[in-house]
Point group: C7
Chain length 94, copies 7
């Protein structure tokens, strides 16, 4: 049982962050925008969104930083997932 | 007696969710956006919406996750239905 | 004495809804958006609205569901009418 | 002394409405939008407004229903006039 | 010492209005929009504003009615001037 | 040490205004929009801003009137500068 | 471990500013917009953002002034970084 995102939507799962490790990723965000690091589980096909062609630049397995603000939380088979638009993703952690 | 949605509108009916089952879908949403799982009952023909061509990617029978925020509830022949725009649909559950 | 709507405007009259009948249509709406079932009395010619070509898909006699939120009430010859834009119509009841 | 409206602007004068007559026009509007019946005194030439071509569909002498909300009241030679944009006009009363 | 307005900007000076004369112009406006009659002192060259071609239809010497709401007051050599965009001008008084 | 503005940005420095002189420039602005007279120190190259081609009409040395509202104050080498977009400039004082 | 920004996003690190030195950069900003001087660490590839082609004009190593308002703070390997859009950058300090 899985989610097939439409258009520019992306399904992600929060990465487990070790906040006390030096090499870990610790995020501090303004109240309005909670940044997030997450792993990409599914990527929509892109296409025409609001009359504008969107090309997907993120792929399954990418670790991404995004603004949680516009995302929607979903619990599927006991797993907590988040659906975001590609536009809400700021960068890929390598 | 049924609703024929216009343009990019979609008629859905809430799926009965078994919230206590492990394999069920449990949704948690922010106060502003109540996500929903629902079955698609009718799909508009698409066409030009706000001057932009919209192609319908959802079909009758799909189980969809959507933001209830912009939807409109309608009761027809005792059945509770919701009319949403395709743009409010985040993904299809398979 | 009648109203000829301009562009994408539509003149409707509220249908008389039998709220207690099983086969009747009972509407429940959020405070912000009061959905409505109404009969279409007059349809504008469409044309270029805000620089975008609008084609009319609703015709006189249709029973429509719409969001009353953006509509304007008018009383003409003792009849209560509402003028809405086609964009505010969600679907046609058949 | 008269006003020559620019672009899509229209000069109207409120029609005298007999509110108690059955065949009169009585308007009820939401607090936000005060609908109005008025006679058209002058019509702008149309043209490019906000980068979009506007074609005028209203002519001098038409009785129109409009939302007073965006209109501007002007008193010229003792007459109370209102300047509205064609987009604020809902329909023509015939 | 004078102001050369850019693009679609127009420099105007309030006309002296005889408010008690029958043939004078008396303006009544909503709190949000204070209409104004003024004489045009300088007109920008028009051109591309926000990616849209603007053609100037107002010329020096015109008496114009406008919404003061978006205008900016400037005092130059003791004279009180107002700079408005052509879009804020409703009509020309003739 | 100097600022090279990007795209449609312009670096200005407030002109010293003799407020008590008849030939001086005295500005009165609404609370929301503080107009400013300033000298242009640097002009961005223009280009495509929000998908729209912007051509720069202001040059170094111009005295300009602008709305301070959208500007950003910067102190560089002890000098107080302001960075504005060309769109915020109302006119050039000659 | 580093961030590869998407589209028009840019990763910057605050420059260490000597606020008491004459040749230092001291910033004063309105409450709504906190300007920032920072060094550019990574630049997205540009491309089509909201249907508009964006060309990157900032490069790694540039010292930039920007509005912190829309930026998102990220802590990576103990370093505090900020991700901004190129549109939020006002100028390059040389």
């Amino acid at each position: 049982m899985q989610i097939k995102p439409l258009f520019d939507k992306i399904v992600v799962k929060m990465a487990e962050v070790e906040e006390t490790t030096k090499s870990g990723i610790i995020l501090t965000g303004a109240a309005k925008e909670k940044p997030q690091v997450a792993e990409v589980l599914a990527v929509g096909p892109g296409g025409v969104v609001d009359g504008k062609e969107v090309k997907m630049e993120v792929k399954v397995g990418d670790k991404v930083i995004f603004n949680k603000y516009a995302g929607t939380e979903v619990k599927l088979d006991g797993e907590e997932l988040i659906i975001v638009k590609q536009n809400d993703i700021l960068g890929i952690v390598e």
